[in-house]
Symmetry: C2
């Protein structure tokens, strides 16, 4: 039985065989290292695991996959973090399905920090995305690493918010790390690689496959102390992630919304099934037993910079309003109204909506 | 000890003394009827209840109050429903504070039908009022009597919805029934008196007093199997009603909303504390173990009557939109758009909002 440390490539090779978790545990217990497992005879393997699995181990792996992995590993920024690695996320080890090796780019010290997952709809509303971003920023400021799935919509907003905060973010993807999907998030993925971490249990070259996303979701919740769902339809992958979280003993949080919004129905279902209803980041920190940072959860809500902007926000109220109406309501000239609208839009306090109208945005 | 049945006036007179519940039970157990209690000597009374209470019973009641009650009772539509009355609401009897006498106008058979209370903010949003009305109508259709407090906002909408449905409504007020408060609901109160029931535990002439409203709230929840809260601020009488409901072993239901709406915070607090989150009337019927009526809870949502109306609703989406934008989006002439807008407004499918804009209304 070999006692030499195994190379990343050996971990990757064993990982490519996609063996069941229990078989991997048995093999490594018996042979000590991936190299030893890979060089064992069929008979030696058959003494430890069922014959069908012994056959899979003894078979050579797909050379194309192995070549892609070798190429990917040649970049010094690219790492394999396997079971023998002290940076391997301890949160995953007790789950019974910790991937043998994680393909990783980024700051490995983030893998063992307290984390919270934020997930939700790809078709998020503008307000839902703002909410996810605000939750992520406040929780990042409070010291939590925000885990999400790098999808468009809520996921992307959560990563963005986390990067804006004092903490950071981990993106768990369902493809090879050489194939960031969706393409729209490529620029975000680069920033996450530089300031946070990108994780996949799938080897380089793995394309987007529907069957891999549930495993990605299981990893997202597994890495975190809890999962916050912001906007999810009734049939939504986010609900699967929340179910995993429950099974993994993680907290499940959901933010509610209008009873008429299809994107709130998933969150409402979760709350009915026992998820904690949350309105603020403080609600989550309280449940996790974490104190809010000095002065409470940081609120960086922009405030009107001028009297004209303040008057305009008052005049807007909760309505969708055009410039003419604002001129009437405020008694200001249209030039002043236009200038104030621009200032408020730049500071993210309102948004233009179709029809030349303006709507106030609420930020937590 | 007298065995003669007591007159409504005797019940009213004893009621005017505002004695503690336990003392009333002891006195009626000892003397048999209100007349007998009222004609007992101070010494006889003192043998049954503490001396201070005996003194209050022996004192003459305020003549003005008694005269107001007599005048009110002279109207044959006005009734006193006291503990001896078979129509007295059985739901109240086990609570330990059932009022000795209820002042009542309306259909007494409603007092012992399965009921659900719907309460909420006086400052309801247009959508909140629509929601309360839709819940009330659907639950009324399903055979529940809707109980509320005849306040403006959610209460009024709940009574209206209940009257539209196949069932009916009970309004519990915190003033004398000769002083319906607020005045804005006088016309609604008349319709409730004709088709439902108006209830007060306070004698005629009682003006609105802050101290009486919590007792009104306790009666609202006491009469019902459960309480639905639709829109309530954090410091809200509706939350008191919900707390009473919990203490009385009634179900508490709350409908959620935006995390940015102050009028949802009370509902969210209730849900966190264990209230059932509900999106539809069916959710409530399910919890109460009541089947929905044939074909599910009746949905009477208006639908677009013409192709132009349907196209317009599509073009509106979730935005607040002006006529010009609708002309652009639909390619219809402004005359056709205007006609369709009018049709949709008349059927309650959209509402004009400030600035010449239109917004779609969601009805459950």
């Amino acid at each position: 039985m070999s006692v030499a440390a195994s190379t990343p490539e050996a971990w990757a090779t064993l990982s490519l065989k996609a063996l069941p978790h229990d078989a991997l545990v048995a093999l490594l217990r018996a042979f000590g290292t991936p190299d030893a497992v890979l060089s064992a005879t069929r008979a030696e393997l058959g003494a430890v695991v069922p014959d069908a699995i012994a056959a899979r181990v003894a078979e050579p792996v797909d050379e194309t996959s192995l070549a892609l992995t070798r190429t990917w590993l040649a970049d010094p920024a690219h790492e394999i973090i396997a079971w023998d690695n002290t940076d391997y996320p301890r949160a995953l080890l007790d789950l019974g399905y910790a991937p043998l090796a994680l393909f990783f780019v980024g700051r490995r010290e983030l893998l063992n920090r307290p984390a919270l997952a934020i997930v939700g709809s790809r078709n998020a509303t503008a307000q839902g995305a703002l909410d996810a971003q605000a939750f992520a920023k406040a929780l990042s400021d409070a010291g939590l690493t925000i885990v999400s799935g790098l999808a468009v919509g809520i996921d992307a907003a959560a990563h963005e918010g986390a990067l804006e905060g004092l903490g950071s973010t981990l993106a768990v993807v369902g493809t090879g790390l050489d194939r960031v999907y969706p393409a729209r998030n490529r620029e975000l993925a680069h920033r996450i690689a530089a300031h946070g971490g990108l994780i996949s249990e799938f080897p380089p070259g793995t394309p987007p496959k529907a069957m891999n996303f549930p495993r990605r979701n299981r990893l997202i919740s597994g890495l975190a102390r809890g999962v916050l769902v912001v906007e999810a339809a009734l049939l939504s992958g986010s609900l699967v992630t929340a179910r995993h979280a429950g099974e993994q003993g993680r907290e499940v949080f959901a933010s509610p919304g209008s009873i008429h919004s299809p994107l709130s129905k998933g969150c409402h279902k979760l709350i009915r099934e026992g998820a904690k209803l949350v309105e603020t980041a403080q609600d989550i920190l309280g449940e996790l037993g974490m104190a809010a940072p000095e002065g409470g959860v940081a609120k960086h809500a922009a405030s009107p910079a001028t009297d004209a902007e303040a008057a305009l926000l008052d005049a807007l109220g909760g309505d969708c309003v055009g410039v003419d109406t604002l001129v009437t309501r405020t008694g200001m000239t249209s030039a002043i109204v236009m200038a104030a609208l621009t200032g408020l839009e730049l500071s993210g306090q309102l948004a233009a909506i179709p029809g030349g109208l303006w709507q106030r945005l609420h930020r937590t």
